[in-house]
């Protein structure tokens, strides 16, 4: 009876698993930069900003992977496209020469973020349209292949830094706000993350979301009901790519640097790990996963240079003993994957 309306909140989301989290998290997140200031440790704010940005990417991947059952091993491509949109628009803005002769450069965040989402959405539409003709292991590998293609494409584009990447000398500007202030930028990212996660939670509970979940559970049944499977999967893949592109654009702004490494296959792997770590197909899972992975990396890295030697076995243990991710520690019922 755990699906009854009583346990659903205003967003139509099953709140019960992380009810405490939903109440406490906003307060903690809002207070965080001030706590960091009080402690005199600015690195807490930058760490939190990174986590918040990657939450957007992981939650977006989760729409495709967890809710739609599309195991993409190439989402770093969209992260990179988003980042490079910011970088390229900035470099054309500085140089004063329009991109492709007609797209003027800009350093305005209100333009670069939508542009990054459109660019990564188009990339996702192209990659998804081709990849979704396969399935299973082949889908995993063909998404990886497309991401590798983009990786090598950007490596070879000398005009945009090639292998070395490109520096974005100044963060994109917003009206009335000073994005160069790390606390301000943190809040910008936080608001965007909250908005994007809110949107995803609506999508998951909407008619579209139900059809998507149905396709994951039984493609044959949904086809027999008359659902054109391909279109729905592609739409979800594009939305997922756009969100990841948004995260990429923010990441480019955050580190003021974009490079082909953003598209490296290990980056795709890390995004997957965040999703799986937190709990596939749950709303808060990727958030938990991103926080846990980056937090763990930071803690272990502060402890030993060879932190990966601990991280690796830890991941294995989590897979073996917490198959539904960390989210299952917070609540007994988590994970839509196995029911």
């Amino acid at each position: 009876m755990d699906r009854s309306a009583l346990q659903r909140g205003a967003l139509g989301v099953d709140l019960r698993p992380g009810r405490a989290l939903w109440l406490v998290a906003p307060v903690v997140l809002a207070a965080l930069p001030f706590v960091a200031d009080a402690l005199g440790d600015a690195s807490i704010t930058t760490l939190a900003t990174r986590i918040v940005i990657l939450c957007i990417a992981a939650a977006s991947l989760n729409l495709a992977l967890g809710y739609g059952g599309m195991v993409s091993f190439g989402h770093a491509a969209f992260l990179g496209v988003g980042g490079y949109t910011v970088g390229m628009l900035y470099s054309h803005f500085v140089a004063g020469a329009p991109f492709l002769g007609f797209v003027p450069g800009t350093d305005q965040m209100l333009l670069t973020l939508p542009a990054a989402m459109i660019a990564s959405g188009l990339a996702a539409a192209a990659i998804g349209a081709l990849s979704l003709r396969t399935g299973g292991v082949q889908f995993i590998m063909i998404t990886l292949a497309f991401a590798q293609m983009l990786f090598f494409l950007f490596v070879s584009l000398k005009a945009y830094g090639g292998d070395d990447g490109m520096i974005v000398r100044r963060r994109n500007a917003l009206p009335f706000l000073d994005t160069r202030n790390d606390t301000t930028f943190y809040f910008v990212c936080l608001v965007l993350a909250a908005a994007w996660l809110g949107l995803l939670s609506r999508i998951v509970g909407s008619r579209f979301g139900l059809v998507l979940g149905g396709i994951r559970q039984s493609e044959r049944r949904m086809a027999a009901l008359g659902v054109p499977i391909y279109r729905y999967k592609l739409a979800a893949f594009v939305i997922s790519g756009m969100g990841t592109g948004l995260a990429g654009a923010l990441l480019g702004n955050f580190s003021r640097f974009v490079s082909p490494d953003m598209m490296h296959w290990t980056q795709s792997g890390e995004l997957m790990i965040m999703v799986i770590l937190g709990g596939v197909g749950t709303l808060m899972g990727p958030v938990l996963g991103a926080a846990a992975l980056i937090g763990l990396e930071t803690v272990l890295a502060g402890w030993t240079e060879h932190w990966q030697v601990v991280m690796g076995p830890l991941l294995v243990l989590i897979v073996l003993y917490l198959p539904r991710g960390l989210g299952s520690l917070v609540s007994r019922k988590a994970g839509g994957r196995h029911g």
């Binding site: 699906r3 609506r202 909407s206 579209f208 059809v211 949904m222 027999a224 009901l225």
Partner: protein, 250 residues
């Protein structure tokens, strides 16, 4: 002469050298229950898959109310009034019985590219879904997750989901398979209640059910219809005895 609801003419499906469907012709009238029987491997499931558009036939015509549908995709055929159940149930295991049917109602209502409103509390989907559940005898089990339903209940739910698509022609792939005696009885009553309202093509091994329900019976052997007629005619047909019913006597 009125067009039958479904008319299949000269349908052929080849897999490489193997002929799974061999110049198959058959029709189903409005409101009729037409049973298709035949030994294992006769090509019954392959035939249903071709009717639904899951497999492309190699040759032949499939008409629904006189309209050729043989080249259409599954979604288009469903819009024109086709529906099916699966021999091995195809349900959404993470959802409740009601959610399964509500989703079928939702799909019939048109496209689902709607991204904002919460669909799980949409009365325009839930209320009709409850009616279909009741029709299939599952009113009391609406909020039970599929994984907690018995096999018989899952078969009933499979039927409810198909009915929610409001098909004019329902293709039933062995709805009795794996049911106990009382569950069988219940399913038989359900199907009997649908006769006259929607056309049904029933693929079934359970002869008792077939002879009790069918208006007409066709016998499929090696992808070909070798006999067609009412229960008495089929039971009397010497070809059927040799090719099919005789199996048990040898």
């Amino acid at each position: 002469m009125a067009e039958p609801l479904l008319a299949v003419e000269g349908l052929v499906k080849r897999f490489g050298g193997l002929v799974a469907t061999d110049h198959l012709s058959l029709d189903v009238r409005e409101g009729e229950l037409h049973a298709l029987i035949g030994p294992n491997g006769a090509g019954k499931t392959t035939f249903i898959a071709q009717l639904m558009g899951e497999l492309r036939p190699s040759e032949g015509a499939i008409r629904l109310s006189g309209v050729e549908i043989g080249r259409l995709g599954t979604a288009a055929r469903v819009r024109m009034g086709l529906g099916r159940t699966f021999q091995i149930v195809q349900l959404l295991p993470d959802e409740t019985a009601l959610d399964n049917v509500a989703l079928a109602v939702q799909v019939r209502h048109g496209h689902s590219f709607r991204f904002w409103r919460a669909a799980r509390r949409d009365a325009s989907l839930r209320d009709p879904a409850r009616d279909y559940l009741a029709m299939a005898g599952l009113a009391a089990r609406a909020d039970v997750p599929v994984s907690a339903l018995s096999h018989g209940e899952q078969k009933q739910l499979e039927l409810a989901v198909a009915l929610a698509g409001e098909p004019r022609l329902l293709l039933l792939d062995e709805p009795m398979a794996g049911l106990g005696p009382s569950e069988s009885r219940q399913m038989q009553d359900l199907l009997a209640g649908l006769k006259g309202r929607i056309g049904m093509l029933l693929v079934e091994h359970d002869m008792e059910t077939v002879f009790a329900l069918a208006d007409r019976i066709s016998v499929l052997v090696h992808g070909r219809v070798i006999a067609s007629g009412d229960a008495a005619a089929i039971q009397a047909s010497p070809e059927v005895r040799v090719a099919y019913l005789g199996e048990g006597d040898v």
